[in-house]
């Protein structure tokens, strides 16, 4: 076991000193889908000290094509991704402290984990959450690495509070990504490429080699053999509400108001409730409506062409609609 990290220590950019630094770092990965699988696995293999991985979803068959931590068994059992991820990651590197957290990533839910986090890796699938991460990063002075992919394309950018432009500087408005996401699908190498960019920047930050950082937003299209890098020095805005001279962290405020959201490319609506649920009691109430399935974390129900998934801590996924109104109507019909 002693030479476990020997190949990484031989790499001059890390070395024995860098390896020692890695072993004391705590990385927060937000999302345990395709990007989250790839990043968390590589970070755990590399021997970081502690990984927290947050996800509110469970493993489905359509995930297996690109989400490398999961197997058919996880899909059959509808395991929450954060639980399945923690199990696999522990098999990979048991000395690393791994916290899988089955929860939605919100400013409130993440706050308790931030005090010793050295770096946040974005592995979410929507800009609502990314903008919230961007504000948290600024407020608590934690660097974060944006990453996203669709089809054969992807992008990545590293945000360092007090130094680089932030995501809010780069984007004039909150992107509406629904159309592309629904239409374009995704292939695994696009995931691997974004994760490679994010991970390299992560290692540079974790071993404090700030000079090596890319300093630009990178984007690519693997199928069409495109690659592009955009320098961002000129993008930093002194009046940016997230990273400027008088920050108001707008997406921390906005976040507090969102109570339900359409999930991009999923034909699904997420409804949040602060109320914990007794799943087996709920099952008794609703089992006359249609087929139910239960495990310690969630209860699912097929009903009138929709599939409802009720999570213990209060969230509900309504599959089969992109309409919040429709989803809420059905939800209240069932929950009462």
């Amino acid at each position: 076991m002693n030479d476990r990290y020997s190949r990484q220590e031989l790499f001059p950019g890390i070395g024995e000193k860098g390896q020692e630094q890695l072993s004391r770092k705590h990385v927060l990965v937000i999302g345990a889908g395709a990007l989250g699988s790839a990043s968390s696995e590589a970070l755990v293999r590399s021997g970081i000290g502690k990984l927290t991985i947050v996800d509110h979803d469970y493993v489905e068959w359509s995930n297996l094509q690109r989400q490398q931590l999961y197997t058919e068994k996880d899909a059959t059992e509808q395991m929450p991704k954060a639980v399945a991820a923690q199990n696999r990651l522990t098999e990979i590197n048991s000395p690393v402290t791994i916290n899988g957290r089955v929860m939605e990533a919100t400013a409130e839910s993440l706050l308790p984990y931030l005090h010793d986090v050295d770096l946040i890796i974005d592995a979410t699938d929507n800009f609502d959450t990314r903008m919230m991460i961007n504000d948290l990063s600024q407020k608590y002075e934690i660097p974060w690495i944006f990453g996203s992919c669709v089809g054969s394309t992807g992008m990545s950018y590293t945000v360092i509070p007090g130094k680089t432009a932030c995501l809010n500087c780069l984007l004039d408005r909150l992107p509406m990504g629904g159309a592309t996401c629904d239409a374009a699908g995704i292939i695994a190498p696009a995931v691997g490429m974004v994760a490679a960019y994010q991970l390299t920047e992560a290692f540079k930050l974790l071993v404090n080699d700030l000079e090596a950082l890319r300093g630009s937003l990178i984007t690519f299209d693997l199928w069409n053999n495109q690659q592009y890098s955009m320098k961002t020095e000129k993008a930093k805005k002194s009046d940016c509400p997230s990273c400027g001279e008088h920050p108001t962290y707008p997406y921390l405020q906005y976040e507090n108001q969102t109570k339900s959201m359409v999930l991009c490319g999923r034909n699904s609506v997420l409804i949040r409730s602060p109320q914990e649920r007794n799943l087996s009691e709920l099952q008794k109430t609703i089992q006359s409506l249609g087929e139910t399935k239960i495990n310690p974390y969630l209860l699912s129900l097929q009903y009138e062409g929709y599939r409802f998934v009720f999570f213990k801590e209060g969230r509900t996924l309504v599959h089969g609609t992109n309409s919040i109104e429709e989803a809420k109507k059905m939800y209240y019909k069932i929950i009462g």
Binding site: L35, S148, G154, R173, C181, Q226, M230, G265
Partner: protein, 77 residues
């Protein structure tokens, strides 16, 4: 000539990744207008803009020989 690079969804909408436009000393917003005359279905709003691999805005003025990239943010993960 100004060379325009299109990525991701914009590339698909235009059916090509590169477009050349005869222009000089033109703001990005002016360039967008010209581009939309030929490619009227292009959804350029929300795309990040780079000129010669540097971040740019609607006000940035481009010259002949410059390369302008429109990069629509993708959201999956």
């Amino acid at each position: 000539m100004i060379k325009i690079l299109l990525f991701a969804g914009l590339r698909e909408e235009a059916g090509k990744s590169e477009i050349e436009i005869k222009a000089d000393n033109l703001s990005i917003s002016g360039l967008k207008q010209q581009l939309l005359e030929t490619y009227n279905s292009l959804n350029l709003n929300g795309a990040m803009i780079a000129v010669n691999e540097e971040y740019a805005t609607e006000d940035t003025v481009v010259k002949s020989g410059d390369v302008v990239a429109f990069i629509p943010p993708v959201s999956g993960g």
